[in-house]
Symmetry: C2
Subunit: 376 residues, 2 copies
């Protein structure tokens, strides 16, 4: 996945040499999310107070997670089945349309994986085609994005059977992932207890690596970057980011139930801390999360310290198609990480669950774990 392809060459594809997919969005630093606080406020409009389930109802095997969770989970009228659904779409973060399609698909499926669900019964694709695309650009770029999306869906064992395509000033790609399953296939996200530890399954720093790559095209920024890292180190960081963004969270998810995970979420635009905060808010027990370790793509900590901060060390740097953040019983976490490592993927213990008031923090001066992924 992601890697042993040669880089996307606009000219070889009949496009202008300056074609850059990431230009089809004018957002500063990819900040395409409505701010998290405001979003939660807006979502009150559609939230149904009756849907706030009590622990009793969950005990009665009637989870009904909805707005604010990674997936909506709805009990069906058909014997013991649940409908689990998620949707996600976003703007291009890389210039290779095929890779962008892969990232978008991995990102959509990530929400199912966060609930431990391994089988996606159906996918729909959402696409906005820039109205300023030339005929040639449409003809070349859109099928490549679709192909990337489809290929990752295939790796995940799923299929795309529909969707919606519109014209828009900006380019967007995303989709919908749906699973119908019995309760035993779902890892409920709200069972963390004091004493648990927190595990993360992909390194942080994707947005730093993407931004550094983009800024290499701006002379004065390039100069600053080159003072920090070599061209090879920057390229390597970018490739690590691409590899991780395209990677499915399937290995990480497949072992969650085995090691008795108490809940998980996937990390993306709100940064590790933003997603930790969302996860801790949804816990049944009065707990808090404290993050002590930050696994970061190799060398990207130097870029963050020296130039592109994005509050990486405070846990706020946006991530793209990030890993799962999972709460495990302390005695199981190390075994889980070992198992994931055996599967050729990675996982790190990054923090602890304590008694608390449903808040999350990154400690002062967290330990940075330099991550070099085994790119296949």
């Amino acid at each position: 996945m992601g890697s042993p392809r040669s880089p996307f060459d606009p000219v070889a594809n009949g496009l202008d040499k300056d074609f850059q997919l990431t230009r089809y969005s004018d957002l500063k630093d990819f900040g395409a999310k409505v701010p998290q606080d405001e979003l939660l406020q807006l979502l009150q409009t559609v939230k149904d107070p009756e849907e706030e389930k009590t622990a009793e109802e969950i005990m009665l095997q009637q989870p009904n997670y909805g707005i604010g969770s990674d997936c909506s989970v709805v009990p069906l009228q058909h014997g013991g089945l649940f409908l689990v659904e998620t949707t996600d779409f976003s703007y291009p973060v890389v210039d290779d349309p095929y890779i962008m399609g892969q990232i978008a698909c991995a990102d959509v499926l990530s929400d199912l994986y966060a609930m431990g669900i391994m089988e996606c019964d159906n996918m729909l694709m959402l696409l906005a085609v820039p109205q300023t695309f030339s005929d040639k650009e449409r003809e070349v770029v859109i099928p490549l994005m679709m192909q990337g999306f489809k290929d990752i869906a295939t790796v995940a064992g799923s299929k795309i059977r529909g969707g919606q395509t519109v014209l828009n000033p900006w380019c967007t790609i995303g989709g919908i992932a749906t699973s119908v399953c019995t309760l035993d296939k779902i890892v409920c996200p709200d069972n963390a207890v004091p004493g648990d530890v927190l595990v993360l399954t992909k390194p942080l720093g994707t947005m730093i690596a993407l931004t550094a790559r983009k800024w290499l095209t701006v002379p004065d920024k390039k100069k600053k970057l080159n003072a920090l890292l070599t061209a090879e180190e920057l390229e390597r960081g970018y490739q690590e980011a691409v590899f991780n963004m395209c990677k499915l969270n399937s290995d990480a998810a497949s072992m969650m139930a085995t090691y008795n995970a108490h809940g998980a979420t996937d990390v993306s635009g709100f940064g590790i801390l933003g997603h930790a905060e969302a996860l801790v808010r949804s816990q049944k027990e009065e707990v808090s999360f404290a993050i002590h370790n930050l696994p970061i793509i190799a060398k990207m900590q130097h870029v963050a310290k020296g130039f592109i901060d994005f509050k990486l060390f405070q846990g706020r740097s946006p991530e793209v198609s990030g890993g799962l953040l999972i709460a495990f019983p302390r005695e199981q976490a190390a075994s889980y990480c070992k198992e994931i490592d055996k599967m050729g993927s990675s996982a790190w213990i990054i923090g602890i669950v304590e008694k608390g008031n449903r808040t999350a923090k990154v400690i002062d001066k967290p330990r940075v774990i330099e991550v070099t992924t085994k790119i296949m």
Copy 2:
């Protein structure tokens, strides 16, 4: 639905008096769809040849409709159940955010209704918030759109349990509707045979009425319109369009199985003929559709003849949240229309199914049926 509310007043909501939601898209005449031919071409990328099912497989109760159909229909591993899903999103066509939310929701659900499915187990909402919205505009307009969407979902007996919200130059609203059901709840779309007749359940001309309303703000266009119709007639046409766009196709769908419908689709952006073409292409039998009658919102034919053509009489004028186009056995169609009428909705016989090569046409000089809906 739709009607007995007072019109949206930007000033009363604390917005600038010139606030117009429809400005948050620069598309000419709302043509936000990728051209139909090109779209089908692009979709070949994700289409899986194995998914083109034969009649035998359908006989074996394994429908597996996908790309190009109104819904994706996937057989599940759980005893006899099918996952039916659809997604739709589009740009504002009216300036009242609450009404726009209602239209968007009715439009999403319409794809389920086109398959005769009355129960939607879950909805997700898709929203793009214009980045140029002021804080006040966000605060006022977005919750109103969400509320309109939610209210129509409630009328349909469904709930919104998640979604995605991003910033974008343009405003979009839409969603995902999902149902898990047994095969007997699905009206398969591909069983039309020669001798069937075609029925339509909402009048055409929505885009003409919307455009006329918009052009009343342009002095020279206003003059031309006023030469054709009175201000009252134009306002009435707009209100009829709004009423119909907000109206669920639930009555129309509820009687499809009872009267042995042989297949249906919902009419929207490609016009009655575009959707008839898509439906006829998917038929198992070698049939063609001929449309003889065009039910049109009262007086809008004069606007179309005199000024805003949009190829309405050729069946090409885009519609928004239109009715169902349904093939019925001849002897059942009239009874169906009578039944729908009794329910307080409407349906008209508009054409015939003949032996043919899976093409559709509107005859020369089709008969126009002037429709005045009983707005409640």
